[in-house]
Amino acid sequence: MLADGPSLSARQISRSFGCGETRTIALHNVSLDLHSGEFVMLMGPSGSGKSTLLAVLSGLLHPDSGQVHVLGQDLWRQTEPAREEFRRRYCGFIFQGYNLFPALTARQQLEVVLRWGHGVSGREARRRADEMLLQLGLGKKAGLRPSQLSGGEKQRVAIGRALIKEPLFCFADEPTSALDWAHGEQIIELLRAAAQERGTTVLVVAHDSRIVPFTDRVLQLEDGCLAEPETARRSELWSVP
């Protein structure tokens, strides 16, 4: 389900941390295109700049130079409120930890995003949260708090929180790192379904090569540079399962 033009286009992105002798280059002239409905995996060794690239592409971390074009605008020439608005309307995030509010039920974790971020009424937010939890196989766990859920269930709630607003982009940072493969596979299937069925552009940072066969494309980052041509298709590099 790939659209013709890129939904996100990054050009010559560079980002470093520190200064002087302690300066570390995290990204060096990285360029890539992401398409609507595409499930892209970003791989690379620790410290290669994967998370930094994810943060720059999603409007969370300012690059030193380069442009991120999304929806016809340069993300990093916009104001902070405009970037916040971009993330609110178009982005979902899944982080390494589940980061769920301990006091809220699975349903409330999802409702918060709709009610606080989109002004959705309580009743409508509840309906949509229940619908999403049902899709995630958590229909019977809607009233449970994080302490009553397994790791896989918590990560599914976190995915629900990222996808409930039906974002154009979903950025996931090591979403399966804390899970065994059986649960991890479920998570990846859910993300792939989001890309295929909803047209969401999914960018996943991960180490686990078992994810590769599920993706449309793999980007390899090494020492802050994209090692593989970003236009290379997963099918050219990896066998389809």
């Binding site: 930094t52 994810l54 608005e85 993330r87 609110r88 982080f95 006091a103």
Partner: protein, 371 residues
Amino acid sequence: MSYSLVTLWHERQRYVPGVLAVGFSALLIALQCGLLLGLFSITSIPVDHTRADIWVGAPQVLSVDLGRPVPESYLSRLAAQPEVEAPEIYLQGFAYWSKPNGATELCIVIGARLDDQALGCVDELTPELRSLITEPGAIILDESELGRLGMKGIGDVAEISGQRVRLVGLVHGLKSLAGPYVFCSLGTARPLLHLLPDQTTYLLARCRNPAEAPAVVERLRAYPNMSAFTSEDFSFRTRMHWLTMTKAGIALGCAAALGLLVGAVVTSQTLYAATAASLREFAVLQALGIPRWRMALTVLAQAFWVGLTGIALAVPVVFGLRELADHVGAKILLPGWLLAIAIGVTMTMALVSGLAALRSLRLVEPATLLR
């Protein structure tokens, strides 16, 4: 139920110090101010428990217990006012009470007319009691002062200013701050206070229409060598004198302010710690584009609920302690306006604490979630 309330309940152990601090502050403010009001309401009993609309005394008199002799002839100045009904004299002053064991105690002798229309006779003196003190040397005391004055009960005798007095009756609720009140007739009071036959401490008057009292007082103030007040003004002046000229008001006020400060610091730190503990969750919401003000509103809502819970816990305790204080003879006045102020100040303190706790939200940085 709001998410902030859900969080508050689920993590109630975390919020307990804040709730208790708010409750403690509300309790301290209400009790200290109530105690202050109760304490100083005692000082104006002679004004508040009598029927006069106008009080005239020596120039610059600061409070009712500090009256000085003025000529009785000033009665004509009051009588000359068309709105005034039969003015009368009123004697009051400090005197030494000699206990049966030889020790002395300062007391306040109050001598007033005793007929049914008397303006200076306190309401608590029933016709029977008034009849009893028409006898020379007969006095009435508040029951709670007996021990202080070394008396056992009705019929006991003692000496005031070297003159023999006999206790003929008791009243309740007229405890004094400066010295026990000794109620008696004008005839008994005059020698006890060493007042000359043409001297009085105050001149009292009642207006046909009480609303005219302020205008009459204004006219009376034109006369030299005396001061005039409406009873409301004199009562307030007396209480304010005690409040400002003694250290008691300042001490109680400081204690209440200290309670407020402690409450603010503990509440603020509780909310700060609770918010800081959820920084990663807030960071996720911020990454999802939920504005910071929406999260700030949640912290403020938590501050509101902490404040409300603390106050709800404090109110019954305040009333319980008032009853307890009543039993041990301390007067705590808790008028509605005082409770409203205490609740308002405490709630404001809780919300300000919430505002102070918002600084923890500045630490929210969604990029840190990407490691």
